[in-house]
């Protein structure tokens, strides 16, 4: 019966072909480490947010008179409302943690390099969508942090040349963050996750075209690839189990560590809390915004600090395959960058007057210098490593790739001249 049904469908829709090609037989490098688990974990984090979000939406009221109380209603009166809300609120943090690890892995192992540039750029788009969704979702509880976070971030658009003031009023639908703002943020917070699902599909189609990168940085021969099922379905499931244990600790034992206490006070448009901080996942970028002593300059620096990741395939000039593992200078830069992110996060979490003002500025300069020095460092590093002598196989591989590139270039110019 089932066999007949599938056969019936297969005549009309490529169902079993798709499953076999993309899920079962899909060739996967056999040397993937656990750092390669975070892509599928991000997918699961997204699904968990969407499911809990839909059920929360059945009880939430996007009206400034009712929003704060409806959260209390969810927490106290709705069956398992506390569970839905804590999964959703901790889930946002978990999602960012997974994405940041996923990005760090890409940077460490050089997975952004050819031919995976589009993976990296669609990922960058997904990060921006995730940030927008998280930011709008954070207004919905209508607490003091919600309110002032939204007030500050919408105000960033004042830096738009000429029409800045109008853009801010247009975004808010009011002269201050108000009812119109809350309602539209709710509508968009519900919409964006589905745009993210669409963008994830594009990300996955690109992945299945170029296939997974691997720790060696070399495209493996067919014999070194193994089918996705059962080897990686089981590995991803194991990783999921570990992830869910860590996630459950937050959901069931520490749900309030990720909720700012000031957000338990209803929004008051006439009083800013003494110390406003964004959620932890925005702290480094917030520190960069605050470190530049100028409105437009700060906004531009903050936007660049996120967008500059997209330039990585151009900034990294080295032809040595693989990432930090085989490149000492790049490895050092990677660790300095990660350490610097933590410094920025620390600066962002402290009140303005509590730290020497140059700390944030120095960390900001270090942040951008690492990107801007990369072209020069990566070229020098390649020269040094090749002079010192690479394994013969690696040298051959680099020469082969260069030859292929030259061939393509030659073909292109032939076509142009003919």
């Amino acid at each position: 019966m089932i066999k007949n049904t599938i056969a019936w469908i297969d005549l009309r829709f490529p169902l079993s072909g798709f499953v076999k090609h993309s899920l079962v037989d899909y060739p996967t490098p056999r040397n993937l480490s656990y750092w390669w688990n975070f892509g599928s974990l991000a997918g699961i984090a997204l699904v968990l947010q969407i499911i809990t979000g839909i059920f929360l939406a059945m009880h939430y009221k996007p009206d400034i008179g009712m929003a704060f109380d409806s959260i209390q209603h969810i927490m106290r009166d709705v069956n398992y409302g506390w569970l839905l809300r804590f999964i959703h609120s901790s889930g946002a943090s978990a999602f960012f943690a997974v994405i940041y690890i996923h990005m760090s892995r890409t940077l460490y192992y050089g997975s952004y390099r050819a031919p995976r540039e589009l993976m990296w750029w669609t990922g960058q788009g997904l990060l921006l969508l995730l940030m927008a969704t998280a930011f709008m979702g954070y207004l919905l509880p209508w607490g003091q942090m919600s309110y002032w976070g939204a007030a500050v971030i919408t105000n960033l658009f004042r830096a738009t040349p000429f029409i800045g003031d109008y853009v801010v009023v247009w975004l808010r639908g009011d002269f201050q963050v108000g009812d119109a703002t809350l309602t539209r943020f709710y509508a968009l917070h519900y919409l964006f996750p589905f745009i993210i699902v669409g963008a994830v599909m594009i990300h996955l189609v690109a992945l299945h075209t170029v296939k997974s990168s691997n720790p060696s940085g070399i495209n493996l021969a067919d014999k070194d690839n193994i089918p996705f099922h059962p080897y990686f379905t089981i590995k991803d499931l194991y990783g999921l189990g570990v992830y869910l244990i860590a996630f459950s600790i937050f959901v069931f034992f520490l749900p309030d560590t990720l909720i700012e206490s000031a957000n338990n006070v209803p929004a008051n448009p006439l009083r800013t809390p003494a110390h406003i901080v964004p959620e932890w996942y925005f702290l480094p970028f917030y520190a960069i915004l605050r470190s530049v002593p100028d409105l437009a300059g700060g906004v531009v620096a903050m936007a660049l600090s996120v967008l500059i990741f997209a330039a990585m395939p151009f900034l990294d000039r080295s032809k040595i395959p693989g990432g930090a593992r085989y490149r000492p200078a790049y490895r050092l830069m990677f660790y300095v960058f990660i350490a610097n992110i933590f410094v920025l996060g620390y600066v962002g979490a402290k009140p303005v007057d509590a730290l020497p003002s140059y700390l944030g500025l120095v960390a900001t300069i270090v942040y951008f210098s690492i990107f801007l020095l990369l072209p020069w460092v990566s070229m020098k590093e390649e020269k040094y490593l090749r002079e010192r002598g690479l394994p013969a196989e690696l040298e051959t591989l680099i020469k082969e790739e260069e030859a292929q590139k030259d061939e393509r270039r030659q073909k292109k110019s032939d076509r142009r001249h003919s």
Binding site: A151, L171, D174, T272
Partner: protein, 168 residues
């Protein structure tokens, strides 16, 4: 009806194709205007635009905060020392004389929104300090230091009587 030239006339076809593309794209762009415009403040929000304030209950040195168009407005009953101080100093970043900012030098009326990113500054001994990003303002609401580019904005207001003002 169609002459031989109109069927076999590539320029004519190309022209029609470009015109159709341009008009179609233009029409689609114009059709988004109602959507964009609907996100602007609605008329009931625009209608809520004036606030009247009784000043008689504010003692010298005291500050009162009222809401105007949903925004906080600071009204300060300044002491003579404070007045003397703001008259003798100027802001370097956004120079403006205090006379230009206060209709009656005893009373300062400013919108209590930091010109940096929109937090509400807190009253400090020197004037105001915005806790969000560290901008400092003097007793005339003028920027002294920090990332804010401009002085605190003065809303449109007038004295209805000696002890009553109308903002908006």
């Amino acid at each position: 009806m169609a002459g031989a030239d109109s069927i076999d006339n590539p320029q004519r076809r190309n022209f029609l194709e470009s015109i159709t593309t341009v008009v179609g794209a233009g029409g689609a762009a114009v059709a988004t205007w109602p959507l964009i415009s609907s996100m602007n403040p609605s008329t009931d929000i625009l209608a809520n635009s004036t606030t009247e304030v009784d000043l008689s209950n504010i003692p010298p040195g005291g500050t009162h905060t009222v809401a105007w168009q949903g925004k906080p407005v600071f009204i300060v009953h300044r002491t003579s020392e404070e007045i003397a101080k703001v008259h003798s100093t100027v802001s370097i970043k956004d120079p403006e004389a205090d006379d230009k900012r206060a209709k009656n030098s005893k009373w300062l009326v400013v919108i209590g929104i930091c010109t940096h990113l929109g937090c509400v500054p807190n009253r400090s001994p020197e004037g105001w300090l915005c806790a969000c990003h560290g901008s400092k303002y003097d007793d005339s609401g003028r920027i002294v230091s920090g990332p804010a580019p401009k002085n605190l904005e003065v809303p449109p207001y007038k004295f209805v009587t000696d002890t009553k003002i109308l903002i908006g």
